[in-house]
Symmetry: C2
Subunit: 201 residues, 2 copies
């Protein structure tokens, strides 16, 4: 497998984490996002959206971090990370959608604004975050994991940008159920550390 | 099954369409979105995001239109609408993510702004739409359906807000592959008509 990767991207980290949790070897190709390589024609052939991560496996190309999680879980995860029954599938989909929408436009956007000085609307990102985090904290006050009785790709999809939220000046201090759940993920066998923006700056 | 529904919502229409295509009977409960019923405590118990649609089936509650499509396809669709193999699952997920993110913030937002006078950023919605539609049109120039050799929930998730785009002053005229694909969906057995905002205004 080849992962088209950008070290600081939380969406790429999701896939590196999943591959590690699954014990899958892969080759990493760094995409020079700062230089716009992801918007160049060669990369757009891989993903018309011009976004990392992209995964190549057995001559198939997959874009979108949620879609790649679904692929890896189905191909290599023996129905543990993405159980086949209708209720589990729907519960997981709810969180994949949340990762694609509210998390991307909330804590992820806040982090991009603060880390890379992008001229997006920070107040809007904070507002989306402030609406979302109490919902997740409340959910985790009643559930040990987001979508099932055990960890699934729902947790892997939601975890990175919450764990990186401080880099967007988002404080998770009051969300103790989220912080407890983060520790559970960080205790998984073969967990790998988050990207360290400060160390690379 | 009970569908908590708002007639004009494209996300609710997705579910009504899917239920019709699957030949499933259900009870429709209208949520008074204009009166804020979806943000009242009773509804937030069903979906903390305060959004329609919500589906109730066998004492289980499902929120998010993509998650409900996944549920219905898995529970009632005999692996036709959501095939089980890893490649199909990932291809479909790519489009469910697109429906949750770019379509929601693009053509769907443009329509909400024009139809309900909501003070969102119309120029941004148009920009997202203008980036997305050529990608979809290009994809459909090479594929008969979005994610597989036959129609899947990917098509059902993406179709409504493209078909309703004119209500957001988005013109699909130049996107002939999208228009052809829309006709294919509209020719499916048990297809139901789109909500008619103008007729209800």
């Amino acid at each position: 497998m080849i992962l088209y990767d950008f070290e600081l991207s939380g969406n790429c980290y999701k896939i590196r984490l999943m591959l590690s949790l699954l014990g899958q070897d892969y080759e990493k190709k760094s995409v020079q996002v700062a230089a716009g390589e992801n918007k160049a024609e060669a990369f757009l052939q891989l993903n018309p959206k011009g976004e990392v991560p992209v995964l190549e496996d057995s001559d198939q190309i997959f874009a979108d971090s949620g879609a790649i999680l679904v692929y890896l879980a189905t191909q290599y995860g023996e129905q543990y990370w993405l159980p086949c029954d209708a209720v589990s599938q729907a519960r997981i989909q709810y969180w994949l959608a949340t990762a694609s929408n509210e998390i991307q436009h909330g804590p992820s956007a806040a982090r991009v604004i603060k880390l890379f000085n992008v001229p997006w609307d920070y107040a809007q990102a904070v507002q989306i975050t402030d609406t979302l985090l109490p919902q997740i904290d409340q959910h985790l006050s009643q559930h040990h994991w987001l979508a099932a009785e055990h960890v699934t790709i729902a947790d892997i999809a939601v975890y990175p940008y919450l764990a990186l939220a401080e880099e967007g000046d988002i404080n998770l201090g009051v969300y103790r159920h989220i912080r407890q759940w983060q520790k559970q993920i960080e205790a998984l066998p073969n967990y790998i550390a988050l990207p360290q923006a400060t160390a690379m700056a």
